[in-house]
Amino acid sequence: MDPRLAAKLRILADAAKYDASCASSGAPKRSGGAKGLGSTSGMGICHAYTPDGRCVSLLKILLTNWCLYDCAYCVNRRSSNTPRARFSVEEVVTLTLEFYKRNYIEGLFLSSGVAKSPDATMEDLLRVARTLRRDHGFAGYIHLKAIPEASPWLVEQAGRWADRLSINLELPSEASLKTLAPEKSAPAIAGAMDQMRERIDEAKAEKLRFAPAGQSTQVIVGADATTDEGVLRASARLYGSYRLRRVYYSAFSPIPEPSSVLPVKPPPLRRENRLYQADWLLRFYGFSVDEIAAGGEGGMLDLDADPKLAWALKHRAAFPVDINRAPREMLLRIPGLGVKAVNRAIAARRHTRLRLADLARLTPSLKRALPFIVAADHRAPGLDRLDLRRHLVKPPEQLTLFP
């Protein structure tokens, strides 16, 4: 590979890595056929994992990290002294195709700094996607970042080539956005999300192709003072009003070239983890934001206990739950039981009375569930113990940045 291209790739991959999303799922089943290249199957594939445990599924790069915006949390803001580079459309196309042919990636996740104007940037992003699809018959996954300030007709076109579109909310409140990202506007972001939701719904009804894998967003946690409850309320609104597929939480991470308006210390990584767990409870377990918040203190989630356990410990009157009789929505509230385990338990109990040994084969985390359940040979011991929490929650370990 041309060393100059390789050098640019390092800069523009480094500049893109603070975006947490790397999912390649949700695209319809399709393939490039005899002339084209690539396929999608609905399920994404992670082709590698970096030593931070994160999956590498898509070639995640910026078209350029030159940017006119000055968002304090971003390493690419215009006042940062970070090294800059810019790909041509053809270079991104070549990298995507050659990486794909070697089975390194599922496709492309392309974003960009706003270089000349939002429209000019969006047009460049579009050109990459269009060239891949139309000129090379590329059927792999394409995730484009939509520039919310770009003209609506450009966002419309992007959805025709991309599997997924995303606009990063970045900060959960309008006030924080104003201080930390002066060139961005909350109404512009909301407007573009709304436009995309409408188009995605209509395209589905008319069986047209428009961002079939939906839209997602990212919220940075710990760069401003918003509580976990505030973040989750913002997410619930995004899932409800704009039918987002995913909200990604990214614990604000120290960046090279930090800005002086940012907190010096990053939030504990566990906070991000707890937010993801809470997000899951919102989407798949029938919890409301109020219920999740009630498990914590002062709007913050319990860092030592997962949010479901935290809720259960404070709502012991709702337990014990009889594995052999309780309705699905109550089984979902049992700490340690996931959706899969619950489904299996419901299927199995039609034919047999479940005992503890049976349950141990349905879930790997039975220990956490024990105090909250009734089974054929078991009756929730110690639900009224004062030290139940200490019994179930691991003592907090010193979280360190240097493992």
């Binding site: 390092r10 396929s39 940062s80 050659e98 089975n103 007709w153 047209l208 299927a347 199995a348």
Partner: protein, 461 residues
């Protein structure tokens, strides 16, 4: 004891035939011994009747036969025997020890398949017939054949081969062939894009978040030796603490005082500032409907008192590149003339800027745009009308009404004066409606009504 000899690897056909024979003979699981890797494996033919099994069992069998566990056939036969003897719902009982064991085997095969899809790395070589891609991979179970469909579908246009210790497969763009076990030295040792890939892998890693346990859970170490990027891991981990310390200890750098006033002002001012600029954008954008060879732009003076909005250009309009010049356009012109409106003084445009059609022989058949397509174009229509600034906007036909109101309102019951956003509006039929009427009386009546609409529009403009 009944001995069943099966081929090495995943002998699905042999096992299926054996099951038919065993069930027909009423052989209980504890009387059967399966021996894999036998030189004397029986041919899979049998006269025994087929055994009907639910699809889920067939899927489970297909997966589990790929596993390396020597007990796999015996476990599968025990399951089939029990289901055949009355426990029809056995697979639903995931807590049953046998089902649990088999599901775990299936899960590990599924994971192995998934990891092979993910971790095969092709290297490119040049041959006289063009480029070829070759990979060396070491799967845990007998899954080579089971991954063939995935790689063919994904890389159908490439000439590729995957070499493994349990066999090899080659796709030559049209045919798949299998071959004997391979050794690592048969595969190429380098690829021109590998350095770039490793560079990408290193750069996308965030040293502030090292979590090797998570990495190894998903990318177990046994795969590392065949992943070119994994060679970089030890050094990435070694350097991470120093890199983070540097980031944290470094004082917030004095920002370069970049405030390029002019560029920022230019950035904020990107909306087209004239109808011509907007038209250039419309003309250069790809059509958002099927067909559509070119954009047919609106026509008429800026500041016209009346703007007429039709549906979309037709065959003639597409050829001429001008709106309302086909048969419907002629009806429209006649009605304007009758009502005393000068066409040169009004603005005429369409809700959808491209001709949507399907080709039937030599004819291009008009297709009505869908609601989604109409909305795709509404931004342009809105911007266009803002530049023209008419006193009255006339929506001709349902598509124009949809574009201007965002709602699918019936034309007949809403015909007449209305408002579109903050402008006076008028809803009437599309002139092509007059061309489609079956009898003369209706034609006469509708023509009079259309001309009456035009007269009314002239009055309110």
């Amino acid at each position: 004891m009944i001995h069943v000899a099966l081929h090495d690897g995943a002998d699905l056909d042999g096992f299926r035939a054996a099951v038919r024979r065993l069930i027909a003979a009423g052989a209980r699981p504890e009387e059967v011994v399966f021996a894999s890797g036998s030189l004397f494996a029986a041919a899979p033919e049998t006269d025994a009747p087929a055994v009907m099994l639910p699809r889920r069992v067939a899927d489970l069998v297909r997966l589990v036969t790929c596993h390396r566990d020597p007990e796999r056939y015996a476990l599968l036969y025990a399951l089939i025997w029990r289901m055949h003897s009355g426990e029809k719902h056995l697979l639903d009982v995931a807590s049953d020890p046998l089902v649990y064991r088999l599901q775990r085997l299936a899960k590990s095969v599924r994971r192995d398949l998934h990891k092979m899809h993910a971790f095969v790395r092709f290297r490119r070589i040049e041959t006289p017939d063009g480029e070829r891609f070759i990979a060396w991979f070491e799967p845990e179970n007998f899954i080579l054949e089971a991954t063939a469909d995935f790689f063919i579908t994904r890389f159908r246009s490439m000439d590729w081969a995957i070499l493994t210790p349990i066999g090899r497969m080659r796709w030559d763009r049209t045919r798949l062939s299998y071959g004997p076990p391979a050794s690592r030295d048969e595969a190429p040792v380098a690829d021109p894009f590998e350095d770039g890939w490793r560079g990408y892998y290193e750069s996308t890693f965030n040293p502030a978040r090292v979590n090797l346990a998570a990495t190894r859970a998903e990318m177990p170490k046994k795969y590392w030796k065949n992943l070119p990027e994994a060679a970089a891991i030890p050094e990435m981990i070694r350097n991470a603490p120093a890199r983070v310390k540097e980031m944290i200890q470094r004082e917030a750098t004095r920002p370069a005082h970049r405030k390029p006033e002019k560029a920022l002002a230019a950035m904020a001012d990107q909306t087209p500032n004239s109808l011509d600029a907007l038209n250039r954008i419309i003309a250069s954008a790809p059509p958002m409907v099927e067909g559509g060879t070119r954009a047919v732009l609106g026509e008429g003076p800026l500041g016209a008192a009346i703007a007429f909005v039709g549906e979309q250009p037709g065959d003639q309009e597409d050829l001429a590149g001008r709106p309302f010049v086909g048969p419907a356009g002629q009806v429209f012109d006649k009605a304007l003339e009758k009502a005393g409106i000068d066409r040169a003084g009004v603005y005429v445009t369409n809700a959808v800027k491209h001709f949507k059609y399907v080709q039937r022989g030599k004819r291009r058949l008009h297709q009505r745009p869908t609601a989604g397509e109409v909305k795709h174009y509404r931004w342009w229509l809105k911007a266009e009308l803002d530049f023209v600034g008419p006193r009255v906007i006339v929506a001709m036909g349902a598509t124009a009404v949809l574009a201007l109101t965002g709602k699918a309102l019936p034309v007949t019951s809403n015909r007449g004066e209305t408002r579109f956003d903050n402008r006076a509006g008028y809803i009437t039929v599309h002139p092509s409606h007059l061309l489609r009427l079956p009898d003369e009386a209706a034609k006469r009546r509708e023509w009079d009504a259309f001309v009456a609409d035009m007269r009314r529009i002239r009055e309110i403009a």
